[in-house]
Symmetry: C2
Subunit: 429 residues, 2 copies
């Protein structure tokens, strides 16, 4: 790692490299996933049970595939009480924030005899994928299930791979229970995505699939997209810290490392207007890295995709940030709200010196499912809006229709669609 | 065509056939489009000019690729005055409706020292594809450009193929001018999608591409999805009319044919509680078909994907409608607003006897870009929301952070991400 005086030419090259870091799609995985999905589509439960035996080394039956209420009760009683309370408090705060995102159906009467409107309806059935493996992420269960619950989705389904004994991590079950998930199935990988996209005798066909997963899961989600809706495919984690001369280098280093520890492909960058701050951040990084449990990962990530860049103004820092469109943006500056207006693209924005990014991962309330790899240019955080859809309402009286009839007939005929005009004309008799 | 007494078993088979009617993806087209996109990505304008010479038989240069302001003025002066006025009135009504969809940024202070919020920002740059060919659809220009304009998008780009003289249909240019499109390029097909997705020396790289197109355009949109956002890929048009004993069979037949004339793959279905109405609709269909300009298309569509179904209650009709999730739904019943609550999935809902579907295509105000092929289960009409994105805002004071610190540290450590906890811990010193 070294400190870089930002030059536009150099910067462009870096930004390009950053955005390319996970674009290679693996053809082999694609072929394999396509086969798995086909099999689940054709053979349903049978295929799912077979694949779970192969990939998860767990024996399921149609009866044990679904997590029972006894298993959930057991799980809840097994989880550390303090941890359970923290999860509950997080759930409350996440719910409260997402309640603000609810939209109402509306009607208007723009002209006599005309009623127009927009009807908001929750999705019927949603599927959440939760990865298995050694680390369990109850926060991810909450962040996916709570917005669906707040939206009013009636049937929230979850799938997660079982261990070799056919069990699911109790913390995952407890979080699902707290979040209000209705059904949980012990299925992982591409077969879980297939089961939810096509439905089986046991697993319902869902309308939308959300949640993180490995490359098999991500590929399967892309392939079923269109048949069902999906959330965005998450890339590696990113943080950008904009720091002025008052920012605390130790805080900044800690925040950078909190993203760098995720993954070797994570990107953690500090842009500062102050060279002394830059130098101190560099020193702090070295010092803190040494004590880090996940040092090897964090070091690789910082070396490949990290950076400390010195610029001559906060405006320049913001303009680079807008080029990056980072997943997480920290404004470690004296007056963060004064910079906010200039920020155009970012998944979540953390204001000031005491709003470190991990607050947003767990407990602040806003969703931690955020657009990555520059897609904050056009994507939003996961929200209640992802779990509803709208229908337009159009109601005219005969008199109101008469008033616009000529325009519609003319436009239809000019577009070469005379039967469209005829539907109006026939009502004028 | 015959009248069918609805039975669930028969119905399921029909619904399945309907939903499968355009799922075959063409591998040959995929391979070709992939090559075209690669070439545009690599060679930019050169590739675009070459492809336009081959596919549109038009000679362009870097200078003539962009429609000039003189060309736009000429076009506006060429269009029939009455038509221009109708387009202007449509633009006003579409704008007025879409204004209601604007969302505001919001902030809240849920606890002392905590400020949370959601910032709404328009997309920077949007690209609209407009097909060429014999029929020009200015309504489609309005329906795509107006929501972007209302959303506050600063740069709205349009591409549309030129004719052999290198000209664009004047009505398209006039509609673009009225809708407030900023730049228009004479490029069509997959090469237009590539130019907008990757950018060339002349065409800007956009954040989102919307608009209809042939299979090449649709395939190209799917392929660039993720790099840029896209709207949904539209399938063939659909209408479902729910009619009671008071409904006018002549109106219903006209409305069915207004969709059937679009395309041989269009689907037009009437579900009625009254056998006499069914019989009269059938007779009206025959009578009206004979006078129809686009009779051949409409007849094929009605034969393959049309239907007149008799059911024993409006509830049953609604439940079939919810299974279909139609693009357009007409409630030709005495009290349409009483049925509305039960409608779960539909793109646009037309209420009563004087709200025929073509009103919505042209002038009512709501968008005519609607989810097809059952995707109204999870997709919404094109709207202002498609042209903005959101950022979450998180701001804590030191004291507020202290209050949640234990929970965040605990949750981070339990999830195996200690550096996340460290970012909090370091601020507690």
């Amino acid at each position: 790692m070294r400190i870089v005086d930002w030059k536009d030419s150099e910067g462009e090259a870096y930004l390009e490299a950053l955005q390319k870091r996970q674009q290679a799609t693996n053809r082999e995985i694609e072929v394999k996933v396509r086969d798995l999905l086909e099999e689940v589509k054709e053979k349903g439960n049978l295929a799912v049970i077979e694949m779970t035996a192969i990939y998860d080394k767990a024996r399921l039956t149609e009866e044990t595939m679904k997590v029972s209420s006894v298993e959930i009760e057991e799980a809840v009683s097994q989880v550390d009480k303090a941890y359970l309370k923290a999860i509950r408090r997080a759930q409350e705060k996440i719910s409260r924030f997402h309640e603000r995102q609810r939209q109402l159906s509306w009607f208007e009467n723009p002209e006599p005899g005309v009623t127009l409107g927009q009807k908001v309806t929750p999705l019927d059935c949603v599927g959440i994928y939760v990865p298995g493996g050694t680390a369990a992420y109850p926060s991810s269960v909450l962040m996916n299930a709570v917005p669906a619950k707040v939206a009013g989705v009636e049937r929230i389904v979850m799938t997660t791979p079982p261990d070799q004994e056919g069990k699911v991590n109790p913390v995952i079950l407890a979080a699902a229970y707290i979040a209000g998930v209705d059904e949980i199935y012990k299925i992982g990988g591409a077969q879980a995505i297939g089961a939810m996209a096509f439905g089986t005798a046991t697993v319902p066909k869902v309308d939308k699939i959300t949640g993180p997963g490995n490359q098999y899961v991500a590929t399967a989600k892309k392939m079923v997209y269109g048949q069902v809706d999906i959330d965005m495919i998450a890339g590696p984690s990113e943080i950008l810290v904009i720091a002025d001369e008052k920012a605390d280098p130790a805080y900044i280093a800690a925040d950078l490392l909190s993203q760098a520890e995720h993954d070797q492909l994570s990107s953690a960058i500090c842009i500062t207007t102050n060279r002394l701050v830059a130098e101190k951040v560099l020193k702090q990084l070295e010092r803190q890295l040494e004590k880090l449990e996940r040092q090897a990962i964090a070091r690789k990530s910082m070396e490949n995709y990290g950076g400390i860049w010195v610029v001559d103004s906060l405006e320049k820092a913001v303009s680079i940030s807008n080029r990056l469109a980072p997943e997480h943006l920290e404004l470690c500056v004296e007056k963060p709200f004064e910079l906010l207006e200039k920020i155009k693209h970012a998944g979540a924005i953390f204001m000031g010196h005491y709003s470190p990014e991990p607050l947003g991962d767990y407990i602040a309330g806003p969703n931690h499912v955020l657009p990555t790899e520059g897609t904050a240019r056009f994507y939003s955080p996961l929200s209640v809006e992802d779990f509803v859809k709208k229908s337009s309402i159009i109601s005219y009286t005969r008199e109101a229709m008469e008033k616009v009839a000529d325009d519609v007939i003319l436009m239809a005929e000019k577009e070469g669609l005379p039967a469209h005009g005829q539907a109006i004309r026939i009502r004028r008799r």
